[in-house]
């Protein structure tokens, strides 16, 4: 993944180039120039993917063995480790609308500052999930984690001090399943064109007019 900053119409983008466009991040899946996302050449890339990337990379897990819950993905048939990351929920700190006057008219930026919680599930039929759990948590303090937080503009909070053994939920699947929660502070925004005051369609009655 190569972060190239804000999308630019004159730049030649290659596969795995990451850009920021309209407050969203997009990863190039094909070389392109002057094709603004969203388009077939771009795939949206979100914080949950960034966290999965950090952990998979730091514990040396093949990225195809990590995925986001729930996509009806069939579990691997071998006994080795795999990772499922869940979006648990979010709580907002603030919710704002800021006017943005532009040359072409009036826009507003609507934004939300929020605290999201993600759950990391480590699963294996052998002992790997149990043995790797500390390394998975420490991955979130790694140099790679710092880089990812800077690129994607989020902040990983204090990782849950406890790890929960959810193996019993797997029943006859007989998986070792260990889970811990990751709180993330981040923000989302969107710019919208709004009617300027003199383009409102409703008339304002002028009491002084005779």
């Amino acid at each position: 993944m190569n972060y190239q900053g804000i999308w630019d119409s004159t730049t030649n983008y290659n596969v795995n180039d990451l850009v920021l466009y309209n407050y969203n991040y997009y990863l190039a899946n094909a070389a392109n120039i002057n094709v603004p996302p969203p388009a077939a050449q771009w795939e949206i890339y979100t914080i949950i993917q960034s966290i999965a990337y950090i952990i998979a990379n730091e514990i040396g897990l093949d990225p195809t063995r990590a995925w986001i819950y729930d996509q009806d993905y069939i579990f691997p048939t071998d006994p080795n480790l795999f990772l499922v990351i869940e979006y648990i929920g979010a709580g907002d700190f603030s919710n704002n609308a800021t006017p943005l006057p532009t040359d072409s008219g009036m826009s507003e930026q609507v934004s939300v500052l929020t605290r999201e919680t993600y759950r990391i599930n480590l699963l294996s039929k052998n002992e790997q999930a149990r043995l790797i759990q500390q390394e998975a948590r420490s991955a979130l303090k790694s140099y790679l984690a710092q880089q990812q937080q800077e690129i994607f503009q989020y902040k990983i909070g204090t990782v849950s001090k406890s790890i929960t053994n959810l193996s019993q939920l797997e029943g006859s699947g007989m998986y070792n399943r260990l889970a811990f929660d990751v709180p993330v502070l981040t923000w989302y925004a969107k710019d919208r064109v709004v009617d300027y005051f003199d383009t409102f369609s409703s008339e304002i009655k002028n009491d002084n007019a005779e």
Partner: protein, 120 residues
């Protein structure tokens, strides 16, 4: 027991031959890229038969499962199918539940069950 080729027992392949049909199935394969799942469809052509399970095979299944949409595929060649694979046959989605290798008699058998969850 004689496992050689000189037996005068009837060959199942010979019995199957008049029933064979040109068939097509689509194998639905999952791929995981950037932690997101995508599916790809791959079409396979083969010569074989599709039949319901025999009464005996149904009888040995648990009562509830007997009413599921079971089918049995016979093919002269080994198909790229393993238990757990998802396929589209005709207009319906099925899951492969069993695979029997009777290559000694020159055929392969697969049991599939209708995937009602993804009814098309």
């Amino acid at each position: 027991m004689n496992f050689g080729n000189n037996s005068h027992m009837p060959k199942i392949q010979v019995a199957l031959n008049p029933w064979l049909d040109d068939l097509t199935f689509i194998k639905v394969t999952q791929e995981n890229k950037n932690f997101l799942t995508t599916t790809t469809n791959q079409t396979f052509f083969f010569q074989g038969t599709v039949q319901p399970l025999s009464p005996r095979e149904l009888a040995i299944k648990p009562i509830g499962e007997r009413r599921w949409g079971w089918w049995m595929i016979h093919s002269l060649t080994q198909l790229s199918l393993e238990p757990g694979d998802k396929i589209i046959l005709g207009n319906d989605t099925y899951k492969v539940m069993a695979k029997n290798n009777y290559s000694r008699d020159s055929y392969y058998e697969y049991h599939i069950v209708r995937n009602y969850e993804e009814a098309l």
